[in-house]
């Protein structure tokens, strides 16, 4: 027998290798199929509903006809105001926790609490928002109350993703700065932030796109069932895409079949556009960073 001929051990290894590979491939397919199905169904069933009018008209005839403009505009308002509220707080808190806070048990408890806060169900946040912003702060059911509720809900995730981006900047750079007499803030501003900004932005935008789809937190705090006007200020109530989808799917009789699919398709396209923007941003900023 040749010295390099196959033995039964090699055969067994090869079979195991094949089996493992096939299993993992199968799992990947199982992962992809539902996503592809959802997108496929949405596009085939929702596409007929899409038109310029669908995007720019108000709902008519008991929400069985017309368009979705108030909901579209309302969602954009809610998302933007939530962004303005959560990003400065979240990023600043993350910078404090990552760069300034001493590494002691209190910091570790706070970090743990933040991670756990991210797991609080959105309906709980909704009730908190109802109590805190609608009633106690007196904002009423309004864009402001809804956005603040969403901001509270997304803060932990913004903090965690920002902190991870900050910590991906090698510690040696900070040491180098400190050893030249730089203060912490000089170090953060000139070295840490420029090298983590792409990660921070990506995290933030992904978070925001998640916000766009949330229903429970805005249902009690600012989103209206039917309100065929565009909001004029953050103190107005507004329709929103996610709630509108729920309403036309379950609460209104005689809705044409394509309508809810159309709403869902537009919502998904909105989110995908935001994600694509975030990825483009990341690629752009990554190109500028090398170490």
């Amino acid at each position: 027998m040749s010295m390099f001929a196959e033995t039964s051990l090699n055969q067994r290894n090869r079979r195991v290798e094949w089996l493992v590979r096939a299993t993992f491939l199968m799992m990947t397919i199982i992962l992809i199929v539902p996503v592809a199905l959802i997108l496929g169904v949405l596009v085939t069933k929702g596409a007929p509903a899409l038109s310029w009018e669908f995007l720019t008209a108000v709902p008519r005839e008991g929400m069985t006809a017309g368009g979705i403009m108030p909901a579209l505009v309302g969602t954009i308002w809610i998302v933007l105001v939530a962004l303005i509220a959560s990003v400065p707080i979240g990023v600043a808190a993350a910078i404090y926790l990552s760069e300034y806070a001493p590494d002691n048990w209190l910091t570790r408890v706070i970090n743990l609490a933040i991670i756990n806060l991210a797991g609080v169900p959105s309906i709980v946040h909704a009730l908190f928002g109802l109590g805190a912003f609608v009633t106690f702060a007196g904002f009423g059911t309004s864009i402001l109350a809804a956005s603040l509720t969403l901001a509270v809900m997304t803060l932990p995730v913004v903090i965690v993703s920002t902190r991870e981006s900050l910590q991906s900047v090698p510690h040696a750079f900070r040491e180098a700065c400190w050893n030249m007499g730089a203060t912490k803030w000089q170090t953060i501003r000139r070295v840490v932030l420029p090298n983590s900004i792409s990660g921070i932005l990506t995290g933030v935008i992904l978070e925001v796109s998640r916000t766009a789809g949330e229903t429970a937190p805005i249902m009690f705090t600012g989103a209206a069932f039917f309100l065929p006007f565009l909001p004029q200020s953050v103190f107005d109530q507004t329709m929103a895409m996610s709630l509108h989808l729920y309403v036309v799917s379950t609460q209104v009789p005689n809705v044409p079949e394509a309508l809810p699919y159309g709403v869902a398709l537009v919502l998904i396209l909105m989110v995908l556009t935001m994600n694509a923007t975030s990825i483009a941003f990341r690629v752009y900023l990554r190109g500028k960073r090398k170490w």
């Binding site: 180098a176 030249m180 007499g181 730089a182 000139r190 420029p194 960073r289 170490w291």
Partner: protein, 255 residues
């Protein structure tokens, strides 16, 4: 009698309960290159790191005794660390340029310390050229000033790490095994550049490489077990060590 740039008196240092330095009395002459040699763990890096107070960041470090730079106490509470670190620059084992352009690396420290004084672009260009010329790097990188410093070769990076200390006109340069990450050719280049800086700066260099200490320093200090054993002109120390421990170490009987 040469002027003294750095002087420690009865300096002891503890990491927690472990004592790393024992009553070290040490004088570094101004404008000279002094090498610190000794076996691993003898306290030479610790001594070096005390002179710009990098050690303190560990949090559990205690010191006793005094350290003076240009006759001024640096361990007192009134000492502003930013100004100390401007005066006493540090170069590490592994080159650690910042993820910025070559130009911004050279100007980084200068920008930190110049405050509100206005500096023109032309002034900055002069500073960059001057600093890079001092470290013999100008001709190699003058066309690449806008490239990321982290993409230079290790040798170029380490030269840059020295260059970026120079625009703020430090008195003392501390170097902690500055060539141990480099190949022999780069090591030779670094030694040449360090040799060229003598006179203009006081240089204190920790090295494991006996040949390097011999080639590239004028004064040499031998440490053992946290104690300063012997200090003297490099030639004298290598040719006629006073103590048997020094002789044993430089002859490679331990270390």
């Amino acid at each position: 009698m040469a002027e003294i740039a750095v002087e420690t008196r009865k300096l002891s240092l503890w990491y927690g309960t472990f004592q790393a330095l024992f009553d070290v009395d040490f004088r570094v002459k101004k404008g000279m290159i002094t090498s610190l040699i000794g076996p691993s763990g003898c306290g030479k890096s610790t001594l070096l790191r005390t002179i710009n107070r990098v050690n303190e960041r560990l949090g559990y470090v205690r010191t006793r005794g005094t350290v003076e730079v240009m006759g001024e106490d640096i361990l007192g509470e009134h000492v502003e660390l930013a100004r100390l670190r401007k005066e006493v620059g540090m170069v590490f084992q592994r080159p650690n340029p910042l993820p910025l352009s070559v130009r911004d690396n050279v100007l980084f420290s200068h920008r930190l310390h110049r405050g509100d004084t206005s500096v023109t672009k032309a002034d900055e260009e002069d500073l960059v050229e001057d600093a890079l010329r001092q470290v013999l790097l100008w001709d190699d990188v003058k066309d690449r000033l806008d490239r990321k410093a982290t993409r230079l070769s290790l040798e170029e990076q380490q030269k840059l790490c020295i260059a970026r200390l120079l625009p703020v006109k430090p008195t003392v340069l501390l170097m902690d095994e500055p060539t141990s990450a480099l190949d022999p050719k780069a090591t030779k280049a670094l030694e040449e550049l360090i040799w060229g800086l003598r006179g203009a700066y006081t240089i204190l260099i920790v090295t494991h490489n006996m040949a390097q200490a011999r080639r590239a320093s004028e004064e040499c200090a031998f440490m053992l077990m946290g104690k300063m054993m012997e200090v003297g002109p490099t030639d004298g120390l290598f040719l006629a060590p006073r103590l048997p421990e020094t002789a044993d170490y430089i002859e490679g009987r331990y270390g």
